[in-house]
Subunit: 364 residues, 4 copies
Amino acid sequence: MPNVKKIGVLTGGGDSPGINSALRAIVRRASAEGIEVVGFRDGWKGPIEGDAQPLTLADVSGILYMGGTILGTSRTNPFRKEKRDGEVVWEPTEKVDAIVENLEKLSIDALIAIGGDDTLGVAHRLAKYGVKAVGIPQTIDNDIGGTDYAIGFHSALATVTDALDKLHTTAHAHHRLLIVEVMGRDSGWIAVYGGLAGGADVILVPEGPPEGSFSVDDVEKVVKRRLAQGKRFSIVVVAEGARPRELGGRQVARGEVDAFGHVQLGGVGYWLADELKKRDLPLTPRVTVLAYLQRGGIATPFDRLLATRFGVKAVEFALEGRFDVLTGLWGTEIRAVPLGEALAQCPKPVDPELLRVAKVICPG
Amino acid sequence: MPNVKKIGVLTGGGDSPGINSALRAIVRRASAEGIEVVGFRDGWKGPIEGDAQPLTLADVSGILYMGGTILGTSRTNPFRKEKRDGEVVWEPTEKVDAIVENLEKLSIDALIAIGGDDTLGVAHRLAKYGVKAVGIPQTIDNDIGGTDYAIGFHSALATVTDALDKLHTTAHAHHRLLIVEVMGRDSGWIAVYGGLAGGADVILVPEGPPEGSFSVDDVEKVVKRRLAQGKRFSIVVVAEGARPRELGGRQVARGEVDAFGHVQLGGVGYWLADELKKRDLPLTPRVTVLAYLQRGGIATPFDRLLATRFGVKAVEFALEGRFDVLTGLWGTEIRAVPLGEALAQCPKPVDPELLRVAKVICPG
Amino acid sequence: MPNVKKIGVLTGGGDSPGINSALRAIVRRASAEGIEVVGFRDGWKGPIEGDAQPLTLADVSGILYMGGTILGTSRTNPFRKEKRDGEVVWEPTEKVDAIVENLEKLSIDALIAIGGDDTLGVAHRLAKYGVKAVGIPQTIDNDIGGTDYAIGFHSALATVTDALDKLHTTAHAHHRLLIVEVMGRDSGWIAVYGGLAGGADVILVPEGPPEGSFSVDDVEKVVKRRLAQGKRFSIVVVAEGARPRELGGRQVARGEVDAFGHVQLGGVGYWLADELKKRDLPLTPRVTVLAYLQRGGIATPFDRLLATRFGVKAVEFALEGRFDVLTGLWGTEIRAVPLGEALAQCPKPVDPELLRVAKVICPG
Amino acid sequence: MPNVKKIGVLTGGGDSPGINSALRAIVRRASAEGIEVVGFRDGWKGPIEGDAQPLTLADVSGILYMGGTILGTSRTNPFRKEKRDGEVVWEPTEKVDAIVENLEKLSIDALIAIGGDDTLGVAHRLAKYGVKAVGIPQTIDNDIGGTDYAIGFHSALATVTDALDKLHTTAHAHHRLLIVEVMGRDSGWIAVYGGLAGGADVILVPEGPPEGSFSVDDVEKVVKRRLAQGKRFSIVVVAEGARPRELGGRQVARGEVDAFGHVQLGGVGYWLADELKKRDLPLTPRVTVLAYLQRGGIATPFDRLLATRFGVKAVEFALEGRFDVLTGLWGTEIRAVPLGEALAQCPKPVDPELLRVAKVICPG
């Protein structure tokens, strides 16, 4: 059992509502044990540069519901990712040493890292450099293994569902084909959950065979069948990472693709609209791009509770000496899941049972 | 495997957001198999009086997000509850025969009952009269066994959390002691989840020793400690069923207590305010009673998804010939749980782990 | 034209969403002219005790939408109100001198007071002691003269309307008689606007003849007529200050009445429910008391815009040497209205045209 | 005073939240006088084709808050617009005769047309064919003369403000340049009101000199100045009709321009992002396109009240024999404004006083 007197915390990657609830819980839980908490600024940049500040009960007062993160975030990675023989290898840079040094200098006994696969991937790889870390999964994409849900997913879901509710009221009035592009990178969690909750008629996800996850022809068919049934509108939810068969199964990017195949997504909504305009449809397609709205806003009760419970447990795992793990939701329980195991499942594809339900409920 | 051609549905007990999502899913899932669906009006009153209507795809169009239930509900019970040797016994009345007859007359092959312990209790007891029923748990109180969550709980939670968020902004401005009375009957689910998600300073639940689940003295102490820390306000969440030690552990009722000890709750908030007024506090207590607001509103995405999945699975359980069960959420999975087993746990007390978290996070 | 170099600001009375938007606008507008702003804490208590802090651009960053007031508020009044010959007279106390002294000591050239009739009443009466003040009307009750709307009214309206929307969904499901008690002190603004926007069936306001503003008999009649029309529920909005004819036209208080006839209201909802329970109705009355929810939450766009415009104009009136006025909304324009004139109309009764519309639209 | 026994209603143009509130008020007000109401389907298409249905109290029950329109809408115009000598002339087609005939056949004594400049323009031009019409202004763009506000504007404003609130929380976390494209066609009402209410840093509107209403250079300067002040993000609201100086002052279209210079707008957000990417900025621009979200959702209390009052007054104007007018909000009063006069001001540019306030408050 380690003697934990000081805990460091950082938040990395794309932010999402609920992070601040976790920070509040960490500080409250630690304070109850007389443990000091230190917050690093801007993700891994903080420990690399030794940029830290005490996090007191006063600092986390009133932040329970606030979106964003009071610590700031970044995508800084102390490892250099290289592609070798088709595989991505993480090579340590001198920033790894800087982290080890700074944690020692600041007498940090345990580090809590809140973030997605990249942020938690660093935490995991730092283990062999002696860094004692507990991870908290946080990403609206919900693509991290080892947990039913990551912080932020249900808040993003609330934004998407609210948007679909709004569009339904106006879709009825006119003959409209409304296309809503949602986030999720390479997985369809937001699209399927959001589409089901918001009553979409068509849901297009990235998951599927290499030659494409959907086809414009199929979308056209659904719209036409609905028109034949007297339904004057259709609402299509398309994940930013969905892959049209008409493009050979590649994603539709706005911007460059990096060496690792990561593209800046965000074009498939307009692409689909343009394709559908060419078809013989009596409905004009209109596109809504929610973009960063999905990261914003106040956290839903679900995310506040999840984040609060993750924060409490992360401190307790540290007190119990359980490191290189993440806090995972399993049913109604929080478990310590080995980080390596959880990360091996990234990007976790959307639950097939939900895809099956989607097919029954929105047969489009 | 039964040959199911016609399914009956009813919704009973107190309503909550999400019921309509379940009805929509039931009809859509059944339609995919060419099964007819019939809706009974006003809970068990429907099958007793043979008051039924076809439920078509058109009937359930556009109701996904709507609170309430398009079928209406009631608390009619075909059994007569009697107290014998300290135990409640359900005696069948002639209404049971009426149900059996009407189901036969209408050629109902399977019945789906959506409701709380009372509604599902009837479904279970009708099994020995040959009624083939599948239950869907629905109650904002979340006090039904056999499932992590019932439909409606997360929507009620959203209303309570939103109220606490609102109160926080104004509590800061003045020296205020705000008391919020929430529902939950004999359990503290809404109070604990809502209080944690909304950042309450004190959470009072019904769970606890017979001599009372809380004491006014303790509330006073928390408020005073917070004042000493410079905190100019306190927010107290009190479950309608919380039992003050000062009253010997009995609940505070507005109205009569029936033979079964069921009281019409809804007085503890004002009672607590009046008690605190007598103490030496520089804060004036003000009471908010959310009451039926907690049953109302649109369903949250969580409840829409849960209800949709329950609806789909209820039809599938019927197709598989699995009756006298409820659809239960176990982690991310929907299981068929024997109704008798699930009902034996009612009223299911709030998860002790959440009570523990509440104690750490709001140590008041 | 006075040479204004330093402006003081205070916020008094009950708070409401939008105050912070006004503070932000005041600081931004003043900064554009190189004018310093100083914030007094807790209403008139601040200038009495010389409790002030600089208000910089950084201080008002990010507060646009936040409810409450970053300056705190109080009901402290430097005058002593006395009843003489049936009239209320404001007698200055030594606190008036303290204010004058402190303003001089701090070199305050102009004071902006944000509040209701009491806060603005002080500002007006201080004019003859040389205090140069501009008032900004702020009260959810909307009972101040000289302006179409005060800050906060539309935000309170949003809360009431949202509550009524929620109740409508659940009222349909059951046979229910839902009573919602809303604020507004001696006027019916919140009740009428909220009741109309939320589709209430009965709206009860304080305005009316001395012998009472409503009668339980009339409420009963409406509910019965609706039942006869097949409407299984009724929603009643009752203003806290409504005066039942059955009580001889007096308000229903929870707590004591002071020498000035000011009662702590907040009992009429339960009183009405108890009276209706005695009548022969097949609906059980249930009461929701929104209470301080109506002061809380984020400001609506309307209130943010109004408050922003009021803040900008308050600074400009000071620059133009126009004091002892309030910023009043007249249509789409902001005017300088003499405080004495505006206060003489307090409490401003609800617009009779809206009462007429309410009678047509909810004829109950 | 005409003897009005039967009123026809139609809703045309782009829909917006609040229309249904107006329909409900019209039917309730008419019913109180024993007047029958008939609803035409899909805008002017209804009277052209004689496609009508009775609108009863039951039909408008429960629609108060619903977005969209239960009557459907269209952009069908019985006049053919032609450009002659640089001016647009409305030439009657045989559809005008069809309208006159159908109104006669159905014994419609008065017609209420709810819509924007196009829908109301038809109503006005039909006057000389003997059609007795009252207009109700409805458009989220708020560009109709003769009224302070049109139905729908405040609801669209709520959607934009909510989006900006959400983006603020996430903008803080990262170094981000968030661009939000909003509607408004040729005027900046939504952009200015929304930008002010949502705390945007830059607001770009269509109003301005012919050579362009904004310049990318200016946007760049603001972002850089904010960075120099330590502000790690900027939020830009750009009206779809804003005209970049860099493009010689023309709007940025997605799709074709018709003979009347009407373009399908909706490209300026991405265009601006692409231009800013070329500049030397350490922030990546990200675009959110709200699109039809702005037409959707439930109506705000403001719009429900406005629509209810417009509906009541439209019936009363008809009863008083005042035709060829629209219901206009003037301060807190509803007036009958001659349609010709109101339409002559279309598109009404955004209130210059608000532009001035925007310049002070968001000096970007």
